[in-house]
Symmetry: C2
Subunit: 338 residues, 2 copies
């Protein structure tokens, strides 16, 4: 074990699109676990769209990142030392001390991952927070019913690809939007979406009319902006919208007006619900049982876009916000289980 | 019984605010009930904000009014002739054949009203569709819980005044907005609202901060526009918004953008639900039991603004859209029960 480790700190609050200058790669002494703590050597670090919100100095559901402090986030790694801590040396653990090669943990927001069940990286993606987000969205927030049409934006992302497939496996007709021809092919090919399209330059209302001839019953919104507007115009009576993300606006400096078609909510009796996965921890068990089985059987597929080395974290994050990933965006900073 | 009767027809589709020229008062032969029909002599005709939407030539949850045809809407009257119809001569009936002095009915969208229980006019207001709308909103669409803060816009209207009082009687702290000092006094006086304000010229965000120091748990939205925006900014986590009306925009010729604070729905996990009272007929029985008892005991109060004579229907409707009413706006075209 080396005597130093590396971490990424927030150097400046970005204006608009984050750049490398907003981050600082720092070398620091390898910490020793205090009483009740373990030391984790991270193997995979997660970048997620919600982190852009935490880079702003505004009150929200989680506190903002602080300038000069480590960016935190999901990570998975192996316990390499324990001072009477909550996990044993050799355990693989999912925790929130990411954006660094090593992290201390006292059990807070951490749980053991079984490397025998699935690759440990999936604990940050299809079998982790993004997968649970998708599951909560289509089961509790905007429950889908067999035979319904479900539209998913950013459908090739970690959350969207899971949401669309869960809806498909529940008997829905699933339509997705994504940001490249490659992603669209992945959606309609391997993932079994009934239809998909590249939103770049698309006439969104016309495309949704064509691909959702019977209207949209459930819209799983990861994007906001024009896609939400176009979906609203196509929603069926008693339709449901899961407001999961607004990646189209995350780099905006000013508050964008809400959807022009907002008023459709009244005559069509729409339900629009914003949600945060933290509220849905009670679903973790049924989610892991159901989706875990589908992943193992191959009925539900996933991809990961992996960059190597902690110095790539800013690239991974900026790339995520501009849609360079297919599936879950990860940075590998340590070995897989042997 | 005279050989003619009068009715109001749609003369033109209004642009912006409706004017008298958009309506035509016509005299026509008194109809005879056909087999299975009754003839009703109307006593009270209802004007409602939703009627502005029906004056547009657009598909919605109910078909648009047609040029040259009678404006239809809620009415209450006495059965004066029956040709083997669904009601007996002398019955008082609530039905949808309004904007005329006499109407035929075969039982469609009609029900008997008991004049002994409450003034028959209440079948168009506090104990009718507006009251049921309020009840559905605070019980099913945006359920209120004891101790919560409930904000109601257009709180001195037929729906708002009922919604606020139902929430108060369910143990909520209730705040309302209205369009005049007289209405505000009525809200905080007779109706028992905890606070109320005149929205004209008000700094809405500052006013809501002051009057809702613990935030808003439920917003009953009759207005849309700026009030929805200000409420969104003040909503608590897991707040609920019943999207009942958008009277601020009903005369608009162009589609207004949605609320600027729409994005608050995600971090605060808000639920926004549009609704139409037609979906909530199953609540009629509990509504009449609960609210009927409160009206009889005086725990829930109501007012009516009544104009006299069918020729006043256009005035009543235009006045309703500009907030000239306190409580339910009605036109009297016949006698009360003797």
């Amino acid at each position: 074990m080396s005597a130093t480790t590396r971490e990424i700190r927030l150097a400046a609050r970005p204006h608009g699109e984050p750049t490398a200058a907003d981050f600082e790669l720092a070398e620091t002494a390898l910490p020793e676990p205090g009483p009740g703590e373990v030391l984790i050597r991270n193997s995979y670090l997660s970048v997620d769209p919600y982190m852009r919100g935490r880079m702003r100095d505004v009150k929200s559901y989680i506190p903002p990142f602080e300038i000069g402090k480590v960016m935190e986030g999901g990570a998975v790694g192996e316990v390499v030392a324990s001072n009477d801590g909550p996990f044993a040396v050799g355990d693989w653990v999912q925790h929130m001390g990411g954006w660094r090669e090593h992290a201390l943990n006292d059990g807070t927001l951490a749980y053991r991952v079984d490397p025998a069940l699935a690759p440990v990286s999936t604990a940050l993606g299809v079998l982790g927070m993004p997968g649970l987000t998708a599951y909560a969205g289509v089961t509790e927030i905007a429950p889908v019913k067999e035979g319904e049409t479900v539209y998913v934006s950013a459908a090739a992302g970690a959350v969207g690809s899971a949401a669309g497939q869960i809806a498909r496996l529940r008997g829905c007709r699933v339509v997705g939007s994504a940001g490249s021809a490659e992603k669209v092919d992945w959606l309609t090919g391997e993932l079994g979406f009934d239809a998909a399209f590249d939103y770049h330059g698309a006439d969104l209302p016309a495309t949704l009319r064509e691909l959702c001839p019977d209207g949209i019953d459930v819209y799983f919104d990861n994007v906001g902006g024009d896609q939400l507007d176009a979906a609203l115009a196509r929603m069926n009576v008693h339709g449901r919208i899961a407001l999961c993300g607004r990646i189209a606006s995350y780099n905006d400096e000013t508050l964008e007006p809400g959807p022009r078609n907002f008023a459709a909510a009244l005559p069509r009796r729409l339900t629009m619900r914003g949600f945060i996965v933290f509220d849905h921890g009670h679903l973790m068990k049924p989610f892991l049982a159901e989706v875990g089985a589908w992943v193992r059987s191959g009925e539900l597929r996933y991809r990961e876009t992996i960059l190597d080395g902690i110095d790539r974290m800013p690239d991974a994050f900026v790339g995520l916000l501009s849609g360079e990933n297919v599936g879950k965006m990860l940075v590998r900073v340590g070995p897989d289980p042997s």
